[in-house]
Each structure stands twice: as structure tokens, then as C-alpha cells.
Symmetry: C2
Subunit: 348 residues, 2 copies
């Protein structure tokens, strides 16, 4: 098998083969394949036809040795099996593909160590640029330093480290957290739970600050026992529901930073015989499709993954093309909004 | 900016620079960087330290020119914004990354023309192997011929063209369709609707054959007016519900080849005042998380995307390693099973 493959490799058609077969100079073949008008249309046609017939391919590595470009962009994420990351990927892919770049993806499974190893591998692979979202426990950006040192552009999205002169594409998580909580207060909620993930990550700490500030501004004392930190799995929603149902003084509202977790939470609350929103009003986050398919339909924060991906992709590509300069862009904030549905609106 | 980048590129550290700075021969540096024990441990350590300090990177292109390998695998799919494709990708990524390969992804947005263009681009990029799932309207595999001709291994999954000597990883869609329909018949359904996508694609035509054969085997005459073909969007479910609700003789069961479509269908059926499963029993497909979060919980076919991705990835990698030979593998069938929940079980 290996031998057979070797034989095939040896048979790779070169421009020398084409030149030889057509009895034309190698320089002419090379020019023709670049569609240089110096070569007559007729000759170019002849060369193209033979190239196709013989299965000639340009040698991207030889080309790359000259240009120094690999025409690849790295997409580094914490998790692939996520609706949100998926929609970002879909937006990024659209933009970079249109610009003629390929996408290499690497995911860290929420591990800082794996993220650092991925960064090293992609640096060695000489990607032309990086689009990245950090893992739960990434504390600094030292592992991105080789890219920074070599002026390989990096755009961070969603989960980022701010204020270090790097470019980030985010939503205003503080504002989202504030508005979601304010909305629950306006619906009459007095004890509002918060179900979220690691507060060492910007997206969750910002939403948490928004949640707390909305409480303060409405003269409600934040209660740490109402904050539940999980890993955003469905179990997180079920476990949080279980904890809160067992409290002597139960929460009457919940701001949950993920729609699937919210759906799982609501399911358990209803199974326990409580009503949503009458007994517990709920706001989710992400505007996943699940939100309008469950009962009651879910109030949520619209968090446009595809747009975020498109903006991150376009920002990187424009830098690579020299149209704009990443070093001048610190933060790009994507619009987000509260979508009010049944799960939070109390009939008064 | 561009100029600055150019300058950086010129400063790329070579093994000559390292040899020069340490006053050691280039051959010794080269050997040391490959961790060759011929070079003393002390010298290797010295060279490694300087290499790291100076930001030395191996030149993958130079290496690739010799080995002929790019250490990249192409992942070609019809859609990225899909829970199922997402879970397959996650399985593939795990396996190929462990084996030291990178993944380049390309998606066709369900267009045959774009799929063909992607194939050409990836062939020119000289990927070492391909994992692919075909678009709705792909009719043949001519666009994969360049890979076949050059012995670049291709593994197809899920949406495939069968019986052409190519390797496919699938579930037994016929059996799944048969069992889902048989189950609805056993629950007392007499008029069973089928909501699905383009019957020119194997997965849907196979499920449809299973559906029809189950009806025949139970002496129920298939009724073409009960078959609804859509694009598997949420609208498909809503539109199908609307159509069936307007029929004088309504269906009393529905086998739907996608859980999100099923959730959307159930929502509309309930909004019209009918009960699921009492008036219309429903079976979905995919075992998406949504299935156990809606009411009633959804009977579905467990269709393990991650496993399918892992098997496709492992099959390809084993071929590349010479451990197994793709040309001897025609079809790999992944286990699948009917998961019975509330949406189909009628209280008798």
C-alpha cells in the first residue's frame, strides 16, 4: 500500500513534463499557467488543456516558499460541539473562503494546556492569521506571544482577555446582564437566581457584574446563595433547579447564561409542579432555536454568532489585505438585544 | 504595515543563524533539532534553548517538499450550522488531531457547484485525505475523481453515493425508517405522514423506502399526499403541520427525519388544539438535545454523530498509516436505535 502511494507521488506532473510534451519552453508554460497575456491565447489554451488532461497541480509549497504565505487561517476554540461556536464558525468560514483562505480548526476542550499546545502547532504551521476564543481557565495570553512577536494577526472573539492591545470582537455582556436582570425586576421578581459558568472568563464575569449592578440599582441585596456556577451542560440546569427547589426561600426569577441550560432548568421546575413564569420567571441567553420551541417560549438575549464570525473574519482579512490595521482596533462590539417571550412575562 | 510585515518575514530565524551564533556546524544543529542522540544532551539542550529564544520554527513547506505530505485532512460538508454535522466534526477533529493532522473545512451550502469547486481547491492544496458528506443535489462523484486517480483516500459519511467502490460510513437508514414507522403502526396509527428532505439523497430515500415497506407489510396503502418534502428548516415543520391540519382526512401519526423539524411540527399541532400523541403520534430523527426538553418529550432515532465522526476519522487515519486499506472497505454501518419517549406512546 505504502509503496503504491509512493509510486503515485513520483508520477506528479511538473511544468517540465508539460513543456517537454508540447515542445515549448518551461518559461512559456509557467507564464501560460499564470494566464500571462504575453503567451498567445492559442498556446495558453493548449497548455491548459494538457495540464488538465495530465492532472497537473500547482505546487502550493513551492509557491509558499516564495510568498511566505500559507493562505490558511487558524480557528481556535474551546469547544466545537456548541450551537454558538458552530454559528460563529459558519460566519468565519464564509468570509475567509471568499477571500481565498482555508480554515484550520483546533479546539481545546476547555483546557488551557491544550490551547497552548494548539497555538504552538499552528504557529509552526505558519498560519497567516488566527481567530480565537479562549477556554474556561485561560488566564493570560503568553501562548499567543509568538504570533504577536511575528506580527501574525490575531482576532479574539467572545471569550477574550481585554485591554492588552489585542483586538477583540464581543457583545456588551455587562449591558446584557444588566438588562436581563432589570427586566426580571420589572416583572416583580425579588429573589433572582443567576446560573452561569466560570467567573474567571470575561463573558460570565461581565454578565455577573451587570446582574449585580441591576440588583443594587433596584435596592435588592445580592445573595451569593442564589448564584450557581456550572459548566453550561444540561446537567447544570437540572442541578441548579434541584438546589433552588430545596431552598426554604426559593428564587422567583432566574437569569441563565445559556438557552439549553435554561430549557433544562425550566423542565425541572415544571416537573416539580411550579409554574414558569408565575412562580419562577426565566431569562436565557444566546437565542438558540430551542427557545421558541419549548413551553413557555424562552425570553433570551439575541447573541448573533454568525454576525460575530463574519465580523471577526472580515477584520482579519482586511488586515491581511492591508485595507485596515488591527493594531488600531481594540474592541468591536456587536449588537445584542433582549428578546422577550413567555417565560419571563408575568400576567399582572 | 505591509512593509513592516515584510521586514519581519526577512528576519525568520534559520538553522544557519543558530549554527552561526553557537559556532557549531549546521549539520549538528539540524540533527539536534530532530533530537538525534548522536548530538550530546548538553549540546542539544543549548541548541533547543537558543532556538526557543530566537523564535526558530521548522519550515513545514521545506519539509513537505521532501515528504510529499501536507499533514492536513479535508472535511467537506453541506452545512456547518447543523447540530449533527457539528457533532461529526467534533468526532473527526478528535481523531485526526491525535494523529497529528490538521483539519481544513469547506462547506457547500447544499450546492453541488460549490462542492465541486471546494473539491478542486482541496485537491490543489494537496490534502492527504478527505472526509465528505454530499450536498442535497450531488448526483455523481466525478468531482472526486482527481482524488481517486491520485490515490488520495476519501471517506464519505452520512450522505453518500453507494456502490461505486468508495468507502462510506453510514447508519442503516432503511432499517431506521422501517422501525420508526412500525412503531407508529403498533401505537395504532393508520394514516402516517412522512416529513423529510430531497429523496434524491440516500439518507432520505432509504428512510422513505423503510417507511413505505413498513406500511406495505402492515397492509396500509402508502398515500403520496401524506409525504411532505422540505429543506429540514423549522419552517418545514410548521408548513407541513399547516398542510396536514387542512386535510379533510388528517394523519394520525408522523415520522419526521429531523428532531428540530419535529419540534416545530409538534408546536403547531398543539397550537391548533390537537394532542400529541393522542391525536397525532410523532417520531423524530437524530436524538438532538431538544428532544427531551420539549413537551411531550420526543421519540427519535439515535444517530450518533460523534461516533460517526470518530469512525470516519479513524478509518482514514488507519489507511494513511498503512494499518488498513480503504480499497477493501466498502461500507461501515454505525449502530442506531429507536428511543421511545412520550410523543409516540398512546395510552390505550
Amino acid at each position: 500500500m505504502a509503496k503504491e502511494k509512493e509510486k503515485e507521488k513520483e508520477k506528479d506532473v511538473t511544468i517540465y513534463d508539460l513543456a517537454n510534451e508540447l515542445n515549448i519552453s518551461v518559461a512559456t508554460v509557467s507564464r501560460a499557467l499564470k494566464n500571462d497575456p504575453v503567451v498567445s491565447k492559442k498556446t495558453r489554451k493548449k497548455i491548459f488543456e494538457l495540464a488538465e488532461k495530465r492532472g497537473y497541480r500547482t505546487n502550493p509549497f513551492a509557491r509558499n516558499l516564495r510568498s511566505g504565505e500559507t493562505k490558511t487561517i487558524a480557528f481556535m476554540v474551546h469547544e466545537l460541539n456548541s450551537t454558538f461556536i458552530n454559528s460563529v464558525l459558519s460566519g468565519v468560514e464564509k468570509i475567509v473562503t471568499e477571500a481565498g483562505y482555508d480554515l484550520i480548526i483546533a479546539h481545546s476542550s476547555e483546557s488551557f494546556a491544550k490551547e497552548a499546545a494548539n497555538a504552538k502547532n499552528l504557529f509552526d504551521k505558519r498560519v497567516d492569521g488566527v481567530i480565537a476564543s479562549l477556554s474556561f481557565d485561560t488566564k493570560n495570553l503568553d501562548h499567543f506571544k509568538p504570533f504577536f512577536d511575528r506580527n501574525v494577526p490575531v482576532v479574539f472573539f467572545d471569550r477574550v482577555e481585554k485591554g492588552k492591545g489585542n483586538t477583540v470582537v464581543v457583545i456588551d455582556n455587562y449591558k446584557c446582564g444588566y438588562e436581563a436582570t432589570q427586566h426580571l425586576i420589572e416583572q416583580g421578581c425579588k429573589r433572582i437566581a443567576h446560573i452561569t459558568a466560570s467567573l474567571s472568563r470575561n463573558v460570565y464575569s461581565d454578565r455577573y457584574r451587570g446582574y449585580k449592578d441591576a440588583l443594587y440599582d433596584n435596592n435588592i441585596e445580592p445573595d451569593e446563595s442564589l448564584v450557581f456556577i456550572g459548566d453550561l451542560s444540561e446537567e447544570t440546569g437540572a442541578d441548579a433547579a434541584k438546589k433552588f427547589l430545596n431552598m426554604s426561600e426559593r428564587p422567583d426569577g432566574a437569569f441563565i447564561t445559556n438557552d439549553f441550560v435554561a430549557a433544562s432548568f425550566i423542565k425541572k421546575i415544571k416537573e416539580a409542579g411550579l409554574r414558569v413564569p408565575e412562580d419562577v420567571a426565566v431569562v436565557g441567553f444566546n437565542n438558540d432555536a430551542i427557545g421558541h420551541l419549548i413551553e413557555p417560549t424562552l425570553t433570551t438575549v439575541n447573541y448573533p454568532g454568525i454576525e460575530m464570525g463574519e465580523v471577526a473574519g472580515r477584520t482579519l482579512i482586511n488586515h491581511l489585505k492591508g485595507v485596515s490595521d488591527l493594531s488600531k482596533i481594540n474592541t468591536i462590539i456587536i449588537n445584542s438585544e433582549l428578546i422577550i417571550r413567555e417565560s419571563s412575562v408575568r400576567k399582572k
